[in-house]
Each structure stands twice: as structure tokens, then as C-alpha cells.
Amino acid sequence: MERDKLLEEMYRVVYDGEVDRAALVAEQALASGLDPLDCLKLGFMPALERVGEEFGRGEKFLPELVAAGEAMQRALAVTGPQLAAARRDLPTPGRVLLGTVEGDIHEIGKRIVGSLLMAAGFEVVDLGVDVPARTFLERTRELQPSLVGLSALLTTTMVRQREVIEVLRQAGVRVQVMVGGAPVTPSWAEEIGADGYAEDASSAVALARRLTGGPGS
């Protein structure tokens, strides 16, 4: 009974996007002896998936999706290693490293791509904006993502996407790279040797699935 109530709570904080309460609920659940993996599998994850589905049907809107994703992140972050470790045991389509390239501070598009990827089950690490190529390289080495996503909104910064790809290749790091942003086109992606391009967040999810060979690819 207590267990069911807690699971329901976990489901609800994510479904309703209660960012501020998510960590508390996760802590309560662990304190009462719930298995971290169950918390994820039966509590948080189904809620996020449901929000993703409802978003796809036009019943929920982007801010609600972002809030659900953030609630989930909070729960994972505060309860720390236990949940994170449990998460690694779950079959996920992969880890994605996202960032806006150096000299560029446009962040909304990248953030939305991140939220949708998260709702689709990907583990997303967002490096923020104005990220130098070197940082992409260092973090890729450290986190071993299956996919790196580069956002660029300016015609003057899209050349940095090429730079990141070159730096990764020169360092001998093997990772798939997808690119996007207002001035980016399929032919640009091809020219710079990116593995894929998507023009909006839902096609970015489809692309990520295809590149990582995940479900629905």
C-alpha cells in the first residue's frame, strides 16, 4: 500500500512537472526502502513516456514536456549514485552530449531537442552554450556518449561545427555527430562530415534513434 502510494507520487511529480518536489519524493521513496530500479521503471519513467506520447498527440505542450523532463532530472540528481547506477542498468537508447558551438549563445532550440530526446528515453548531457571544440572533445572522452549533437544558429558560427568534428576525428575519438540550427542544411551536414542533420526536435529524435540503432529506428 505504502509502496503503491509512493510509486503513484513519483509518477505524479513527473507527469505534472513538479520540479521543486521531485527530489523530495525520490528521497522519500529511497528512505522507505524502495528499489531504485523500481522507482525508475515503475514511477518516473512511465510518467515521462506518457507526457511524451501526449505531447505527440497535441494534448500536452512543450513547457509541460520540459517541466516533466526537468522533474525527472532533479529526482535523478539529488538521489545521486543509487538512481544513476540503476539507470545504467536500464536499457536506454543511449547517451547524447548536446551543446551550442563556440561564439553562439542561442539555447532554446538545443534545449528543446534535449527535452524531446530525454522524453524518448535518451540520457542527455547538456553542455550549454558557447562551448569550445576542446570542451566537446574532453567531455566526449570522459562521458563516452553514443552521440554528440551540435547546435549553431548563426551563419558565422556554423563553421564551428566543422571544427568540432575535425577535433574529434584528429583525436581519434569515434562518436556519431548530428548537427542542427537555423542556417544548417543537409548539404552543409554532408560537407562537414556530420553523420546526420535534423531540422526540428521531433526529427532530431528520429535521427538519434536511427544513428544509435535504438528502438523505432
Partner: protein
């Protein structure tokens, strides 16, 4: 089968006589007070050492680590009161200079598009230097366009390091009207641009009197500015070059979901840099700018056209009038991909609202797909929208001559007014289309169903072929070449 082009007429600003109040005095006061509270309590991020030092000296509380300055209300209000109420946007041709006098409303082109619908092929392609020049040339000819904002598209065939300078060159070559780049985002680039302008006008004093370009920056909403842009604007202000800062808060993403909350963020992000400039260079010309909008709830995209955008676009000038400073409002930013019904809907409503609240500048005409694709036809059709709104906003004059009671009695029941002197006296005040199609159905059918788009295509081609702007002196062009080469060398050395 194109005829010869009539000569270019003088710039035609709007002089609105109709008025509209969206917020009312109480609403404006509440937004002003909320903005002052946010400036003082939350503060604003200024990622520039130079800016933070100026603000600290003036008595702002500065957190160096977070690069945030809290601006007390008295510091804010004193600084704002130093800004000139009226000033001039100069032009290469002094006759094209614009007076920001609170009575006129000036339309510009839109800026920084990425692609262009090729005038010959009709399909979109990446934009080049030549497109910057050609868009300026067409803007130079069109009397509805008062100044060239932009560049309308980016010169992507030019190396990034000197791109803003080559774009300014192309704009100056294409038009003798005022140029307002949004690409001067570092102090070095600002210095080079000032040098180019000095070469053209001939001296620092003349440049102050007749600033042939001004600077438009973006704010980094919410409550933030860009360091390079701030430093570029400080360089501009030092030379008497007008500068404005454009917040683009997007409700739900970079502003509260509510429109009043959006206006508070817009006000804070427009005021903060303006205060900085006045603290550094009291009396330097500055203007407000803004393009507030609401996020698309499904894609997260910039809508560039929705009932909320129209309201925000009209309302913000009421706030600016409270400070007595001119505003440049982002209009005609339709998300439509083609010059179609949606483009007309968005661009008409987004333009009429700020006109009716007395906005000084409107930016701008010609881009589609959320300010990403330039269309010559859209530019011309946007000018037609402008001319319709110019007429509507004149309103209806009522006096004995206009009432024409005498005339009506004289003609009596069943007569007509066709050849009457009163008609001949007043008919030229009636709006006439340039590209709107009013042909009879059969004639339209026989013509191959040509509408406004086809008329605009012809006009654009004729302008590009036949119109030649006021030339730039060869000696000035040599000086620009020298400046461009020096800038390229400096960029090279910096890498």
C-alpha cells in the same frame, strides 16, 4: 516586357493621426514600476569588465563573479533623463536623413536573413555579398523604406572576420539611405565601421551631425546583455553614433507566459544597456528597440505573428513614450515560407499596431520564414502594406471642405460627382495600389492570371536592372579598401 522605371521619389514616412491605447496610463505606470523593481532587486547581467566598472562607479551594486549589476531607481531615472528625446539618423545623401521627432514613423528592411529567393530562378539559395548589394539597391528605390536595417541577408561568400565590414560596404554602395547594421558585435568591428563612415562623411564633427549608420544590438533575455555588443555600442556612442538594444523575449521561454510579464522583461532589457550608455556618454543618442513574442507551444519556435505578438508590438511603445525616447519595433517577421495569405495577415497586423501607438521606427520588411529567407517580392509587397497602413492611420478629416455639404446639395438626388471640381481637387488623396491587383476578371485571366506577386517580380527586376543609387566617390572606395585590408590583417594576426 518591362517599361522604364519612374525616378525614385523622396522617402515617405507615416504620420499617424489615429491613436490607440492598449495599456492605458495605469498599465504603463505598473510596468515601469515593475521594471525599476527588477533592475534594483534582480539586476542585469553585463558580461563586460568595462560595463561593470562604469555601473559600479555610478553607484550600482556589482557582483563581479556573476557579472550582475543591480541598478537603483534613482541611478536609472537620472541616466534615462540624459538621453536626447529627438535626434537625427543621417544618410549618405543628406536629403535621406531621418528626423526622430516623435511625429514620423519610419520603415526599414528586415535583417540577417540566411537565404534568398533568387529573383531569376525563384528557388531559395544561400545569400551572398551581391544579394546584400541588390537588396540595398531595391530598398534605395522604394519610397516606403526609410532606412536599411541589416544587412537584409548575410554575405556568406565573405570570410567571417571581415563579413560585417563588407556587408556595410555593400549596403552603403547600394543605398544612400541610413544604414543600421545588427552585426557590429565587438569593439574592433565598431571601430572599423566608424572609420568607414568617417571616410565617407569626411570628419568626426560631420559624423556626429550626420551619423550615416547606427547600431542595433540584441539583448540576452531575460535580464542579460552580450559583452561584445555592449562594448561595440560604447565605441559607437563615443562617436555620436546612435545605438539601440533589442530584447526579443519569448513568452514561456525567455519571458513569463503572461503578456504584462513579457513587457516587464522587455522594458528591463531595453532600459539596462541604455542606462549604461548614458552613464558612460551622457547625452549620446540611444533608442529603444524590441521584438517581443510568444513561443510556439508545439515547436518552441519564434512565432513572428500571433495575436499576442500584435498586442506586445503595439503596447511597448506606450512604455517607451513614458520615457520620451524613440522605439524601433520588430514587425513583419512572419513565419510564412512564401509571400502568401499568412504573410499578409502577419505583416499587416504586426505593423498597424505599433503605428497606431506612435512608434518611431519599424524593422522590417522583406524576410520570410521567421526572418530567415529574403524575398524581393515580399519586400515590395510589404511596402504596399506599409502604404495601406500609412493611409489608414491618417484617419478621416472632418471640416466644411471635407464634409462637402454645399456640393451634395448642389448635385442633388441621383446626380454624380465624377467630373466635379471638388472631386478633381481631392482625388489624388485617394490611395492607389502599386502591386495589388484590381484588374477585371477576363483581363486577369488573359494575362496569365498575374497578381501582386507577378507585379512585384517585374518591379524588382526593373529596379535591379535600371536603378543606380547615388555613387560613392572613388577616393572613398579606395579608403574603404585600405580599411578592409587592415581589418583582414588584424583578424589574421589575432588568430
Amino acid at each position: 516586357m518591362r517599361g522604364s522605371l519612374p525616378p525614385r521619389g523622396p522617402i515617405r514616412p507615416i504620420r499617424p493621426r489615429l491613436g490607440l491605447s492598449i495599456l492605458g496610463a495605469d498599465g504603463v505606470k505598473s510596468i515601469h514600476e515593475a521594471a525599476l523593481e527588477v533592475l534594483a532587486r534582480a539586476g542585469v547581467r553585463f558580461p563586460s569588465e568595462r560595463a561593470l566598472a562604469i555601473l559600479a562607479d555610478a553607484g550600482c551594486e556589482v557582483d563581479r563573479r556573476r557579472q550582475v549589476a543591480r541598478i537603483p531607481p534613482d541611478v536609472a531615472m537620472v541616466a534615462i533623463s540624459r538621453a536626447p528625446r529627438h535626434f537625427t539618423l543621417g544618410a549618405r545623401d543628406p536629403a535621406d536623413s531621418l528626423s526622430l521627432d516623435g511625429e514620423h514613423c519610419y520603415l526599414s528592411t528586415d535583417g540577417c536573413g540566411i537565404e534568398v529567393y533568387d529573383l531569376q530562378a525563384g528557388s531559395p539559395r544561400r545569400s551572398t555579398w551581391e544579394d546584400v548589394y541588390r537588396s540595398a539597391l531595391v530598398a534605395d528605390y522604394l519610397d516606403a523604406i526609410a532606412f536599411y536595417w541589416g544587412p537584409t541577408v548575410s554575405a556568406q561568400d565573405v570570410p567571417v572576420a571581415i563579413r560585417p565590414l563588407r556587408e556595410l560596404e555593400a549596403a552603403f554602395l547600394g543605398t544612400s539611405k541610413h544604414v543600421q547594421p545588427e552585426t557590429i558585435i565587438s569593439a574592433e568591428v565598431a571601430r572599423w565601421c566608424v572609420e568607414m563612415a568617417l571616410a565617407e562623411v569626411g570628419g568626426a564633427e560631420e559624423l556626429r551631425r550626420r551619423p550615416i549608420f547606427s547600431v542595433m544590438q540584441c539583448a540576452l533575455d531575460p535580464l542579460g546583455q552580450d559583452g561584445g555588443s555592449l562594448e561595440a555600442s560604447l565605441v559607437a556612442a563615443e562617436h555620436g553614433i546612435p545605438t539601440g538594444f533589442m530584447p526579443m523575449p519569448m513568452s514561456c521561454a525567455t519571458a513569463p507566459a503572461t503578456l504584462a510579464g513579457n513587457l516587464v522583461v522587455t522594458t528591463v532589457d531595453a532600459l539596462a544597456p541604455l542606462i549604461l550608455i548614458q552613464l558612460a556618454y551622457p547625452g549620446a543618442p540611444v533608442f529603444f528597440a524590441a521584438a517581443p513574442t510568444v513561443m510556439d507551444l508545439v515547436t518552441g519556435g519564434y512565432t513572428g505573428g500571433s495575436p499576442e505578438d500584435y498586442l506586445l508590438g503595439g503596447a511597448f511603445n506606450e512604455v517607451c513614450l513614458h520615457y520620451g525616447l524613440p522605439l524601433s519595433m520588430g514587425v513583419m517577421a512572419t513565419g510564412a515560407k512564401l509571400p502568401d495569405w499568412q504573410a499578409a495577415l502577419d505583416n499587416t497586423l504586426s505593423t498597424i499596431m505599433p503605428v497606431l501607438t506612435g512608434t518611431a521606427m519599424l524593422t522590417g520588411a522583406g524576410l520570410l520564414n521567421g526572418s530567415k529567407i529574403f524575398s524581393f517580392q515580399q519586400l515590395i509587397m510589404d511596402c504596399e502594406i506599409h502604404s495601406v497602413i500609412a493611409r489608414v492611420s491618417e484617419g478621416i478629416r472632418v471640416d466644411p471642405e471635407m464634409l462637402a455639404t454645399e456640393l451634395i446639395c448642389r448635385i442633388g438626388p441621383g446626380g454624380n460627382y465624377l467630373a466635379d471640381p471638388h472631386t478633381l481637387r481631392h482625388l489624388r488623396a485617394i490611395w492607389r495600389p502599386r502591386v495589388v491587383d484590381r484588374s477585371p476578371y477576363e483581363a486577369w485571366d488573359r494575362s496569365g492570371r498575374r497578381g501582386a506577386f507577378e507585379a512585384a517580380t517585374d518591379l524588382a527586376k526593373t529596379i535591379v536592372e535600371q536603378h543606380r543609387p547615388r555613387p560613392v566617390e572613388p577616393s572613398v572606395r579606395r579608403e574603404w579598401d585600405r580599411i578592409l585590408a587592415a581589418a583582414a590583417r588584424q583578424a589574421e594576426a589575432g588568430n
